[in-house]
Every structure is written in C-alpha cells, then in structure tokens.
C-alpha cells in the first residue's frame, strides 16, 4: 500500500465531462435549460420512463420545489424519517411545515412504515420517504396509507438512482417515479455526479405545468420558448432552481456511462458483502439488509456495530490503517435546531443508526488491492476483538 489514505469517496470521471463543458462553452450557451439539460432530461425519460424531469442545482432544491408544489402552508404537518439529511426537513420547514419524525426500521435505516399512520392528523399534508442507501421503502404500504388519508408522497431518492421497487403484484418501478414527486442528488458523493446537482421528477400530471413555472423563477418562460405563449411574465412564486449548462454537460457525460459505473460499484458492494457479512456478525455487527421488494444500486456499503464504543474503536482502527470509514446522520429530532420542536417520542432505531452505523469506502476507482486491504483490516479487527474477549474471559 502507498503512504496515502484510502478516502471514503473519490469522484469518478468518465473523461468526457470537460469535453462536453467545452462544447457548451463553444456554443455560447452556459446558463440553464440549454442543450445538455435537454439531453439529460431525455436520458431520464427514456431510461426510466420518468414523464417529467427538471434538473436542479441540488437535491435540496428539488425538495424545496416539492414543498412549494404540494403547497405547504404554515402549520401543515409533514412526516419523514429522523435519520436523514437536514435538507429533507429544511425544505419543508422553509415553507412553514411542522415535521413529525418517524423512527427507522430495525432491519435497515429506512423509516418504519408501520409507525407512520399513528402520526397522521387532519393537518398532515405529505409523507416524505427516504430511500436510504438506495434501498427502497415499502412503497405499497406507504401508497396505501397516503391514499387512505389523501396525502402527497414525496420520494427523497437522493441516493437511489438506478434502484427499483417491486410491487406485490410484480410490477417494477424505478425509485423516484412512484410518489407524486421524486428528488435525486448528483452531489459528488453519489453514484452519478455533477459536483453539486439534483433533479425533480414530477409524476403527478396535475403538478407538471406549475413545476416548470416554479423552476423558471415563477415565470412561464419555458412555455414561451416552446411557442405556446406570446410573451412570458411573472405567474407564481419560484426560484432559480435550474443548473447551468456546465453542470448538465458534466452530468450528461456521467449518464452515458451509467452501466459501467453501476456494474463496477455493484461488484465492489458484492465483494464487501460476501467477504464481511458473516465474519462481522461474530461481533454482532450487522451488514446491509436488502428487502426482497428492493433492488440494490450499490450506493453504500455500511455496517451497524454493536455499540457506539465499538464503532469508535472500529473507526479508529481503520483510520490507523489509513482507511477512511465515516459515520452518517445524527438523528434530526435531537439536533440543536429541532430538539425543542420535537414531540418527545423516543426514536431508538434512529438513535441506534446515528450512534452505530459506519460506511466503508465505495467508489469506482477503488482497486481490488485496496478493497482486499480494507476487508483484511476489518477481519483482523474482528479477530483481535474475539481473542481479546477470549483472553478476558479466560483470565
């Protein structure tokens, strides 16, 4: 091994990114909604059958568009997991929503679908599902609850590109296309990247034309450029949600290589899982669980340790070996910002993942040698701990 640390993430580049940026620059159109944006939209429509997509500057922005589109008003309630990124909540709080946080499942960090219904009140407007690690929530259950109570379903699919959910009747749909709205991220830590970037998928036909207006700063500029209206003007609230062509040119180069990127990531994920899941269970360390209704897009390989202390030990052990493993979210209901707004319910599973989950390096350029070294290191950690235990027990 070289002297260099193995990073947690390293952005993969197909080699075409800067070439496409140069193309955009040469054609003299680098602001938003140009040719590369349209190429990206067409890609998503073709590959996933998404009926309407709008690139955004971040997944945060796609979530903010969602909050505007479902018309969140001050005092409306929105249900979402506590184990998620701050933006999932902030986007709705910015519109005045009160957040009801749901606990995670015991078998994986996604929200526990069975705990949703008891939180619904007459003020509830939407359920935001987060497909953690690209693993689908039980969407049939969620759609049934939403239907029964007439709620919007918004998918925070930030990590979920190229992942699918299979309905009980056997129908399979890509994540992000199942709720009324779906939100994706192309942040550099994701499978497909654009530095910062995101996308809104508008599945509900009734929200489509307003989505386009909100995206274009509240104007009907898009309709104007399609020749549907004579002039464009201010029609609604909105923001500058659209990314530049620099971003979409970069993204398009990535999308062209999605198969290659995904097959490499899946290989790495499988090797981790095959080599580690049984071995780490000897220390009561849990490896990822993928429900039968979900595919796995190899966004993340995580472990859930037996205790907070064990995670600290393992992270330090790996750091000494120059391997950068990292923990993830802190339960949002316990944050400085939200603690006094929370309703007091314990969310033990969310806390458990906050305290015990760690993520291993997983990126396209991770070499087999590097991965073998990571696997070896974790196995040694397990061995050492077991012999410590044995030694302590026999002493």
């Amino acid at each position: 091994m070289s002297n260099q640390q193995i990073p947690f993430n390293k952005p993969f580049l197909t080699g075409k990114e800067t070439e496409y940026i140069e193309d955009a620059v040469m054609f003299g159109k680098i602001s938003g909604n140009g040719d590369f944006t349209k190429k990206c939209h067409a890609f998503f429509q073709e590959r996933y059958n998404f009926s309407k997509t709008l690139l955004t500057t971040s997944c945060t922005d796609a979530l903010e568009m969602s909050a505007i589109l479902v018309d969140i008003q001050p005092g409306d309630e929105v249900i979402m997991p506590a184990y998620t990124f701050v933006s999932t909540a902030n986007a709705f709080i910015l519109r005045g929503a009160n957040i009801r946080f749901v606990d995670s499942r015991e078998d994986h960090p996604g929200m526990d679908e069975d705990l949703i219904e008891e939180l619904i009140t007459p003020k509830t407007k939407a359920i935001v599902v987060v497909h953690y690690a690209g693993i689908s929530c039980d969407m049939q259950k969620i759609l049934d609850i939403a239907d029964k109570h007439d709620l919007y379903v918004i998918e925070d699919a930030a990590q979920a590109i190229e992942s699918y959910y299979t309905f009980p009747d056997g129908t399979r749909k890509p994540l992000g296309s199942i709720g009324h709205l779906g939100c994706f991220s192309f942040h550099e830590t994701k499978n497909i990247i654009a530095g910062e970037g995101g996308m809104l998928v508008v599945n509900d036909e009734e929200l489509r034309s307003r989505a386009e207006i909100i995206w274009e700063k509240g104007t009907n500029r898009s309709a104007f450029f399609r020749g549907e209206v004579d002039k464009y003007g201010w029609k609604d609230i909105g923001s500058s949600f659209l990314p530049s062509e620099l971003t979409s040119a970069f993204l398009f180069a990535q999308l062209e290589n999605i198969e290659k990127i995904q097959s490499r990531r899946k290989l790495i994920w499988q090797r981790y899982n095959g080599a580690l899941s049984e071995r780490v269970s000897e220390l009561n360390i849990q490896s990822p669980f993928v429900p039968a209704y979900s595919t796995n897009n190899a966004h993340m390989f995580y472990l859930v340790t037996e205790s907070y202390e064990q995670r600290t030990e393992l992270l330090s052990y790996l750091k000494e070996k120059k391997i950068l493993a990292v923990f993830h979210y802190l339960s949002l209901h316990k944050s400085d910002f939200f603690a006094d707004k929370h309703d007091g319910r314990d969310l033990p599973m969310s806390d458990r993942y906050s305290d015990r989950l760690l993520r291993l390096p997983l990126y396209y350029d991770l070499t087999d040698a590097q991965q073998n070294y990571i696997i070896r290191s974790i196995k040694r950690f397990v061995e050492e701990k077991i012999s410590d235990k044995y030694f302590l027990q026999s002493a």
Copy 2:
C-alpha cells in the same frame, strides 16, 4: 457583414475556464466550498474589501439568503422597485413578505429615492435597492431613510460588479458593500460570468455567522472545517446555496481577467454613447444617464424611445438588419401574479421603461466593425424617421 445575426449577448471566455475546471476535477473535489470557491472569496475580499462573501448558485439564491437573514416573517413589508427582475421580489415573497413597489426615476430606471419614505409603515422591514444597469442608486438618501426607520438595506447588485458610489463626503465604496447585504449575479448575461451563479456579500457583522450556517444547509459545517467546533449539526433553517467547484473554477478564470473585460466593455459603451446620444435625441430617444455619484461599469447600453410604437419600430428595424436588440422587464406590479396584490398606485415611470427601454448588443467579442454597423443602422433609422416626419408635415 456575414449572414449571421449580431446577438444581444455572447458569453466571453478567457480560455482558462475549462482548464481550471479540469484542475478541480483532478484534485477530486467538485462539490461546493473547495479551493476555487475560497480563491473567489479571497479575490472579492482583496479587490473590493468585502468583509464576508459567500458564492451562491444564483443571485436569486443570494436574495433568498438575504430574506432569511433579515428574518422576514409573514406580513412583513419590503420596499423595492417595480422595474426589476422577478427574483428580487420572489425571494422575499417566499418568506411571506408583502411587497410595496416603488416607481422608477425619470432620468434613469433605478427606483425613485424620494418615493420610498411615504411607503414605510410599522411593518416595513427592508428596502431592496436595485442598481439598474450597474448604475448606483442614491445610497446616502437610502441609508438615511433606513437609519431613521430602522430598516435593513439590501443591495440587488446583480448587474453592478465593479461599480462604485461616492458619498457626499467624498468616500467611495463599491456597490454591494454599502447596505447590510449585497447580492451579485454571474449569469451568462453579466459582465463576469459562471453560467448560472451569484454571491452574497455580508456587510453587517451581526449577520455573518448565521449567513455561513444558512449557506451550508442550516449546519455549522464551515465552523467545523475551521476546527472551531468538534462536530457539526443542524442549527437553523437553510438551503444548499453553495455552487459546485465547476462553477467557482469557471468564475475564478473570469475574475482574473476582470480588468481586461471591463476596459473592453467600457470602450464599447463609450463608443455607443459618443456616437448615438445626441443623434437619437432628435427623435426624443433618451440615452443612459449616469448620476455624478455613480461610476458606470458598462454593463448595459440602453435607449428609451419616445413611445411603445417607436420601440417596436426600432426593434423591428434592427432585427431586419440582423441586429438583436431586446427590451427588458415588465413592471412587476402589473404582472399576472402581482396585479391583485398591488395597492393600486400608478407607477408611470416603471411602465415607461417597460414599454420603451431597449438594450443594444454589448459584449467583449463585439467587433468594432459590428458596432459601427449597429451605430450606422440606428443613425439611418433616425434619418429615415426624420425625413418621414418632414415628408408627412410637408405633404
């Protein structure tokens, strides 16, 4: 002349933009707040003595950050010109503000400072000044009003990079550094570009630390990376306001060439003004007025025609000559979105600029031959109109 149209705008490229993007890509950091973002921040701090700058994905986002920072609450009132871009208003409406639109000045499209005070009520929270065409508003007058009524002043300096205001006492300050907050745009139509992009300047020391938190999705991540806190978490509302390193690398290449870009633009502006201002006045067409307290950053060369019909004729005439001149804003108080929210006041000057202002091509790569042709064409229009008039009068 070639067969090609002379466009209204053409993004200028220094040649280093894609090189710097490649550097960012090579160093494996393309999400936000990396080396190029820091380089841009340092540039602005050094050149303009801005005490705290934060790049954003657009000027719209900088305005939205401002609305959050001055803590706009539903029902608060914000005063701004009606002759501006939708984002100036939307950013505050998104936080629940009621907008009181002010009319423009007769001598230039900036807001009439003498009409502000009568709109102030106990609910007024902020005055948003727009430095139209990079020409400063009378900032001493505005600061005096704001001081008297304890209001925030936010500068929409979208068009105003490298422009200055001179106070009555002779002190000179760059636009964007005078109010509590300043907002810039690097959209491809601006002097300095990054496709889509913007910047918030935080002049009020009390708003500084919160600005950083709001910028980083409501977390204290920036303080964490400076080693000021042990771990970072959710502290406040916020969004993903920061642009990727692709954007800031591009921007930095532009900033390095600001002198070159500005001197070329100023030359073009001066040539328009020297050749046209007297000639067009024969048709009662007004050319730009620059108050003595303001510099001119050559962002825009505009004309204000005698009537809506005259503008239509001139635009068509130029279009026939393959010159793309364009009009600008539609009065926001008359828009579909706002008409029923407006208090009914007439804003005749704003309407006048909506109906009669047109902008001539002005960009770095506009050649002398092209500009001569544009000037010639406008002079011919004036001659033809004058001889028409003469003919009609004598007929």
